[in-house]
Amino acid sequence: MTCQPKGLCGGKGLLTLKEGAWANNPLAIQVLGICSALAVTNRLENSLVMGAALIFVCVGSNLLVSLLRKVTPYRFRMIAEVAIIATFVIVFDLFLRAFYWDMSKQLGPYVGLIITNCIVMGRAEAFALQNPPILSIVDGIANGLGYAVVLAIIGLFRELLGAGEILGYKVLSAQWYTPNQLMILAPGAFFALGIVIGIFNWIKGPEPEEKK
């Protein structure tokens, strides 16, 4: 797997980016890491910060796991991955607490729970262990972005329908729109995620082997 001079890793970078963010979107196609996607998406701002957290952690852990892939003992790899992921998550959480206090209060335990997010662990295990660092960074960005975009879509609609607001600004006037509390609560998250997954799969079309 040597990088060709043409393009980013000989076109592999673009492929990886497309794969992670679209064709194999961790949330909409693989349906991974939906716990946090359901929990924090009641406001767009929360969704954006959570997406940023995942991009940061995915990129950081993919890079380190990839750099260490040749010196990490095989049977110790998972412990090493979790230690690396946990370090990045806690660093992000500490910065959030120091400089973005209000958001840190809103997100509560969910930032810390990124440690157990299967997307991050999955990318480290399935991609970063076999691929060079630059490509692993691209993969981290792609998957983090895939997660962040879906989260932002869900957050946008839940906040809009549930509170009539976008990023805290009143958009739908209370005179003719009664905010639907259901969208803020847990069931609204399931509806929104289900619809987004449905639309993603509908646009993407069936898997090649299913076409027969």
Binding site: V71, V91, K105, P109, L185
Partner: protein
């Protein structure tokens, strides 16, 4: 054998590097976190005591307003923050006591404000909580906290205690619980009652 030693060595190095990094970041951010917590606490005491303060106050301004208006009184174990407003302001004298206890995910801390009679609730606020956003986290939301205003800290028979319950019926010391957050509500009820009983004890 050689493999085992290498694995142990690798684990040791990785663990050390990770913990050094975390220690560095934690000690770098510690003063900011501390300042945030302090400002948050002052703001909550001012809010629950209904001391007027400008919305865009900086942390230093908040500290000054706090020191000018609020007196800390200690009676035994009980710490009370008393706000005696200027006579012409029309504000009422209010007393706040802190409460804290374990929530569902982490510690919950807040203040309970009472009228001068030490019986009627003037407000409740939570300045630290990590409950589930949208469910238990709603304890910090306005609609839940506003329910407490005007409630009594004793029941009709005079026994101290507040009830957070979704059962039917009205009572002077009962507020509605949050659907889907029974655990959080029960724990909040317990910590409020602990504070209430110490207030009632102190009054006698």
């Amino acid at each position: 054998m050689k493999n085992n030693i290498y694995t142990l060595f690798y684990a040791g190095v990785l663990g050390t590097v990770c913990s050094l990094l975390l220690t560095a970041v934690a000690s770098f951010t510690a003063p900011y976190q501390q300042a945030n917590k302090e400002a948050e606490k002052n703001k909550n005491i001012l809010g629950v005591l209904q001391v007027p303060y400008p919305a865009e106050s900086s942390s230093q301004e908040l500290v000054k307003i706090f020191e000018d208006n609020v007196r800390l009184e200690k009676k035994g174990e009980l710490e009370m923050y008393r706000y005696v407003p200027p006579k012409d302001s029309g504000n009422q004298e209010t007393v706040a006591v802190g409460f804290e206890g374990p929530g569902l995910w982490g510690p919950v801390k807040g203040f309970l404000a009472l009228d001068k009679d030490m019986r009627t609730i003037r407000g409740v606020t939570f300045y630290e909580q990590e409950e589930t956003p949208g469910l238990g986290g709603e304890i910090a939301a306005g609609w839940f906290r506003e329910q407490f205003i005007g409630k009594s800290i004793v029941d009709q028979a005079g026994n101290p205690g507040i009830i957070i319950s979704s059962s039917e019926g009205e009572a002077p010391n009962k507020v509605d619980a949050i659907s889907g957050a029974t655990m959080t509500c029960d724990k909040v009820q317990a910590m409020l009652n602990e504070a209430i009983s110490s207030v009632v004890e102190e009054k006698q």
